[in-house]
């Protein structure tokens, strides 16, 4: 009984011990809040990427690949519900008579996209695309202003008085001040055989009419892609390949078995593209695999932050070690009388260990509670701080989010608690061990 009683009394009468507890509290709080934000952010990013992706994509197809046999092979799979072919090319978009803007620094388009003149031009069959991806909903996104919406959503890329149309991401459209019906020029190029047998790059220019805007939840996709009709792009770039295809989007019946389906489809594609030259043509990837590098980079950042925050916890533990060591030094005079009254060295050790563990436990419990509450009400806290100070702690627009994301993982909470308790036990053990080894006669012989 005396161990707990003394530990509590020692702690209550020494406010400096609050420092150690505060250190543990803050580090636990930070580990909960920051990781919850990052986990929520990761979930949101996944949702955003998912919303702009087909279940499975077949890409890296050779120039001689043909749509018809590939489609047939893919549709033979029991989990394939529908397919849509795409041509994927590159280009720059500008107003007629204007030069495209200069390219910015590399790597700026990862999250947002659309801030550089280069973009992907996707040649699609709008009807097929709508069956396979969320294409239809991208055109009906409520954030698209009425004046920028596509006029005929059933045939968004149908030619306008003989002039082909283009669909542009909402933000790019607004940033460049384009309107529905405006004419833009798509500048691209294609390889063409020269009379001398060499291949040279030939400029291709397409004059297009803006059909309207599309918007997915993935800013990077919206900013970096424009849609034109498959036949328009094929005629301009690949006039000699009427059945050509560069990418195939696949919708699956059961989204839970995408990995297994992708493996089967990879075999099917390999069979169709087998030329007997021991080379594997075409790559089949689930949406997660295709965006794996991007998702992994966010995951990696979360991991790095965890390490930084754990270092903060260790630093807080050293603070606790210092305060506990001070307390043991101050209380050596008590060790003599406790021993005289019947305490064993183990009992003395337990008194000071109980002090450290009480500090740690209080820090962990309060840190977890405060961290969880902060995470749950993070958006409200952000709005309050914004209202009170005009400082936006988490600019949502930068991340294409509606509110501060948060995902509290109970397993992570347990891991944080276990980690803090382990660190707290280790740093409590040393001063406690020192107290237990203190010779009680030294303190009893005189003050």
């Amino acid at each position: 009984m005396y161990r707990l009683f003394l530990a509590v009394r020692y702690l209550l009468t020494r406010p400096i011990n609050l420092l150690g507890m505060a250190g543990i509290l803050v580090s636990v709080w930070a580990l909960v809040v920051v990781v919850s934000i990052f986990s929520g952010f990761l979930q949101q990013i996944e949702l955003h990427v998912r919303s702009a992706s087909a279940d499975i994509s077949v890409h890296e197809l050779p120039a001689w690949a043909e749509w018809t046999p590939l489609e047939r092979a893919l549709r033979d799979d029991p989990n394939v519900a529908d397919t849509a072919r795409r041509l994927v090319h590159y280009g720059m978009l500008s107003r007629p008579g204007q030069r495209p803007a200069s390219p910015p620094l590399l790597g700026r388009s990862a999250l947002h996209g659309g801030d550089q003149p280069f973009l992907f031009v996707l040649g699609i069959d709008a009807a097929a695309e709508a069956r396979v991806t969320g294409f239809g909903s991208w055109l009906e996104n409520p954030e698209i202003p009425a004046e920028l919406r596509v006029a005929d959503r059933t045939r968004p890329l149908a030619a306008d008085a003989g002039r082909p149309r283009v669909l542009v991401g909402l933000e790019r459209l607004q940033r460049e001040g384009l309107h529905r019906g405006d004419t833009v020029v798509l500048t691209s190029g294609r390889l063409q055989s020269e009379p001398d047998g060499q291949k040279g790059l030939q400029q291709v220019t397409l004059e297009l009419v803006v059909a309207g805007a599309f918007k997915t939840h993935h800013g990077g996709f919206d900013g970096n892609n424009v849609f034109v009709d498959h036949e328009v792009l094929r005629a301009a770039l690949f006039p000699d390949a009427p059945d050509g295809v560069q990418e195939i989007a696949v919708r699956c019946r059961d989204a839970a078995t995408l990995d297994a389906t992708a493996t089967r489809l990879q075999r099917a594609v390999a069979r169709v593209l087998d030329r007997g030259d021991d080379r594997a043509y075409g790559k089949v990837q689930t949406w997660r695999e295709k965006n794996g590098q991007f998702l992994a980079s966010v995951e990696h950042q979360r991991g790095l932050l965890k390490i930084v925050l754990i270092v903060i916890m260790v630093t807080a533990a050293f603070l606790m070690l210092a305060t506990l060591s001070m307390m043991v030094t101050e209380k050596t005079s008590d060790i003599g009388i406790l021993t005289a009254m019947g305490a064993t060295p183990l009992g003395v050790l337990q008194v000071f260990l109980a002090c450290g563990l009480t500090i740690t436990a209080a820090g962990v419990v309060l840190g977890l509670l405060l961290g969880t509450v902060t995470s749950v009400f993070l958006e409200e806290i952000r709005q309050f701080v914004l209202w009170a100070t005009s400082i936006d702690l988490f600019p949502l627009k930068v991340y294409n989010l509606d509110r501060v994301p948060c995902a509290i993982d109970p397993l992570w909470l347990l891991q944080v608690a276990a980690m803090a308790l382990a660190v707290g036990t280790v740093v409590s053990a040393w001063p406690a061990w020192r107290a237990a080894r203190h010779d009680p006669l030294v303190s009893l012989r005189g003050n």
Binding site: M1, Y2, G336, I337, L338, A343, L441, G446
Partner: protein, 236 residues
């Protein structure tokens, strides 16, 4: 003849200082009978406190035996020696050694907490509190129960220490210069109190002092010089 409640039989104790061996006790024989009041008198450095610590099982003899109720106890395991200290020996020190964070009542109650689990203490806390308050009333501190040591005078602190030493109802009280830090008037009061309680309870009482007047009030005086008991036959 009855068995001494506490005895030292040919006890030696030496400390190592670097490569030197410093002998402090050189074959001490001493017996403390039940209800007996013995004064241990000697100059500073004579080995009085060391003998008291050895008898109180706070320190182990280098050789010889410590007997409690005729049973050798000096080489018992640590936990067993701690139990004996708690159950049968009360200590009173010159510098009181009260725990500054605790009130007078809590300092006394701590003696009861030492031997019980949290649950057992919780069940009997009423009785423990009543016993502690009764003891503090006996030493005249019924109005100072909730004062911390820093709010008590030297004499009051020593009274709290006496009450704490007695709560576990020990057979032996070992007092190491209990009045050494008090003015003479306060010291006289504390001595009267100690002796009166000792008589009431029939405690064996070993009083370390170098105050001849105080020593003369004991049943027996044992003089120590250079780690040796002089002119006092051991009653083992």
């Amino acid at each position: 003849m009855s068995t001494p409640v506490l005895a030292a039989a040919n006890v030696t104790k030496s400390y190592r200082l670097g490569k030197r061996e410093i002998p402090v006790l050189r074959g001490v024989d001493l017996a403390l009978m039940p209800g007996e009041r013995v004064a241990l008198l000697g100059a500073s450095g004579a080995g009085k406190s060391t003998l008291l610590h050895v008898l109180g099982l706070l320190d182990a003899p280098t050789s010889g035996q410590v007997l409690f109720d005729g049973r050798p106890v000096h080489d018992l395991p640590v936990a067993e020696r701690a139990r004996l200290r708690h159950e049968h020996t009360g200590f009173v020190f010159q510098f009181y050694h009260l725990i500054p964070e605790l009130t007078a009542l809590q300092n006394v109650l701590l003696a009861r907490m030492m031997a019980t689990s949290t649950l057992a203490y919780w069940r009997t806390r009423g009785a423990a509190r009543a016993a502690a308050m009764d003891l503090l009333a006996q030493v005249g501190l019924q109005d100072r129960l909730h004062h911390r040591p820093s709010e008590l005078s030297g004499g009051e602190r020593q009274r709290v220490a006496i009450a704490r030493a007695l709560l576990a109802e020990p057979k032996v009280v070992l007092a190491d210069e209990p009045t050494g830090n008090l003015d003479s008037a306060t010291a006289a009061g504390v001595v009267e109190l100690m002796f009166s309680i000792q008589q009431q309870r029939g405690l064996a009482f070993l009083l370390v002092t170098h105050n001849e007047d105080l020593a003369r009030r004991c049943d027996r005086i044992v003089r120590m010089r250079d780690g040796v008991v002089q002119g006092e036959p051991a009653r083992t």
